[in-house]
């Protein structure tokens, strides 16, 4: 089995248009959540979200590209460019033939669906643009990355709601570890912040109208975000042979299914995913210093996740730090695990643990060190990233400092 390291990272999200900007915001505990701004927002009862601001797609992509790139694809390509540039890899010959792209998204081209449904239903038009289908399909982003960078290996998109990115990255990790691919481009993207996207979530009555306050007493729900996180996972020997900068190592993963409820999380399912990921990584629970929580800010998730952590880590649960950066960038749904992996990289590489902001009051049902409001310096050797999706599908990754 090969060791797998991360040699490139890229992102665009509500906290910044690059990894350095996002790290800076996480260190400062800055909030990227604000008033939503898009057509028909006045017809929503939920009007806040972690929108990507100051982003002019037209300035980045030409007219032909714009006709094919939904916003979730635009985010993916921007993050992929940062990640692949940082990795220093150029894909030719055997490397090109064997390297692929595995990405996560829950909704794919949601705003393309939204815009075109509006056009045919509300505006009564009988013709849509010929590229609607290739623009909205869930695999559009992965395909465009593969075309842009000449990646001809195994490529596909994983869609497991809020765990999509973690499932995708786990899959990419397994491929590099097994020797199937020398490197993989992986991560995920989401862009549901449009009228139809938010309206659908509103119906579920789990959204907060004011803020995402994970683990805090009186928290009242999740807040949606948007953006992408993309990484280059690479065989350690391959990276070392070319003297690449290594951000951290991925050492294990696990996936599990609750097999119980379509929306309510299960402590057992989450605990099994964490425990099996540690086993896969061959580390003791005591080695883990930081967990990037799923931490959605809903009543149900946060208490269930804390109980699962207590079960898996025993007394050590009180010694580790667990934070939810969703409080800053919002819940990126299918892209969330990818952006949150950045918090793990920051903890391992820079020794800075991102905080859970918006924290007001301790909740006895979430009695862990949630790094309230202010980032913290710490020497973190092993970090865990959790994602627990609607439908009871869980995926957990374990990372290590190199």
């Amino acid at each position: 089995m090969n060791r797998v390291v991360i040699t490139g990272a890229g992102t665009i999200n509500a906290l910044g248009h690059s990894v350095p900007e996002t790290f800076e915001a996480m260190r400062e505990g800055r909030c990227g959540i604000g008033e939503l701004n898009f057509r028909d927002v006045e017809r929503l009862t939920i009007r806040i979200g972690g929108q990507v601001r100051g982003f002019e797609a037209e300035a980045r992509f030409n007219r032909q590209q714009m006709a094919l790139y939904d916003r979730f694809t635009q985010f993916t390509l921007i993050a992929a460019k940062e990640a692949i540039t940082q990795s220093g890899l150029a894909f030719h010959g055997d490397l090109s033939a064997r390297t692929g792209v595995v990405l996560g998204t829950a909704g794919g081209g949601v705003s393309t669906w939204d815009d075109n449904y509006r056009s045919v239903y509300e505006d009564g038009k009988n013709r849509v643009h010929p590229f609607v289908v290739p623009k909205l399909m869930n695999n559009a982003a992965a395909s465009h990355v593969s075309m842009e960078y000449n990646l001809k290996g195994p490529s596909f998109t994983v869609s497991t709601a809020c765990a999509s990115s973690n499932h995708a990255m786990a899959q990419a990790f397994a491929m590099v570890r097994s020797g199937m691919a020398p490197a993989m481009v992986t991560g995920g993207s989401e862009s549901m912040l449009c009228f139809g996207g938010v309206k659908a979530w509103e119906g579920l009555r789990v959204m907060s109208k004011d803020a995402c306050r994970p683990f805090s007493l009186g928290r009242n729900g999740m807040v949606q975000g948007e953006g992408a996180g993309i990484f280059v996972f690479e065989d350690y020997e391959h990276a070392r042979a070319r003297d690449a900068e290594i951000l951290c190592e991925v050492i294990g993963f696990a996936m599990s299914s609750d097999a119980s409820d379509i929306v309510m999380p299960s402590k057992q399912g989450a605990a099994r995913a964490m425990a099996n990921a540690l086993r896969d990584a061959r580390v003791n629970p005591e080695a883990v210093k930081y967990i990037n929580a799923h931490g959605t800010g809903t009543a149900a998730n946060d208490k269930t996740e804390c109980a699962a952590v207590a079960d898996v880590f025993g007394p050590h649960a009180d010694n580790l730090m667990i934070s939810s950066t969703k409080s800053m960038h919002g819940h990126l749904i299918g892209g969330t695990g990818a952006v949150e992996l950045l918090a793990c990289i920051m903890a391992l590489r820079d020794g800075v643990v991102a905080p859970t902001i918006g924290y007001e009051e301790p909740d006895p049902e979430c009695a862990l060190d949630v790094v309230p409001n202010v980032a913290r310096e710490a020497d973190v050797q092993v970090a865990v990233s959790n994602a627990f999706a609607f439908g009871g599908l869980n995926a957990v990754l374990v990372l290590q400092k190199v």
């Binding site: 009862t45 119906g203 579920l204 009555r205 789990v206 907060s208 009186g218 928290r219 009242n220 729900g221 379509i262 929306v263 309510m264 809903t298 009543a299 149900a300």
Partner: protein, 85 residues
């Protein structure tokens, strides 16, 4: 049909019961309505009466809407319907 009977019909349908089995002092729990069933019931009631019920599934007890039992729900809806007209 009175507001009370319309609400009971919606709750009964959600609980897969006959309306006559829904008592005014029944709690939603008594009727076997879980959190997802509650969100669906509230949606159905909002559609029936064209009202908005202040309810957040994260904090059902802290919402400005009393869900203690069927009587409380009916009273709350009567108030919202009156406020609308």
């Amino acid at each position: 049909m009175s507001i009370q009977n319309r609400v009971i019909a919606i709750i009964a349908e959600q609980a897969v019961l006959e309306p006559s089995d829904v008592r005014m002092d029944s709690t939603l729990e008594d009727l076997g309505i879980d959190s997802l069933g509650l969100v669906e019931s509230i949606f159905a009631i909002e559609e029936e009466f064209d009202i908005s019920i202040p309810f957040n599934a994260n904090a059902p007890t802290e919402s400005d809407f009393d869900l203690t039992n069927v009587a409380a729900i009916v009273a709350g809806i009567e108030k919202l319907v009156a406020a609308k007209s």
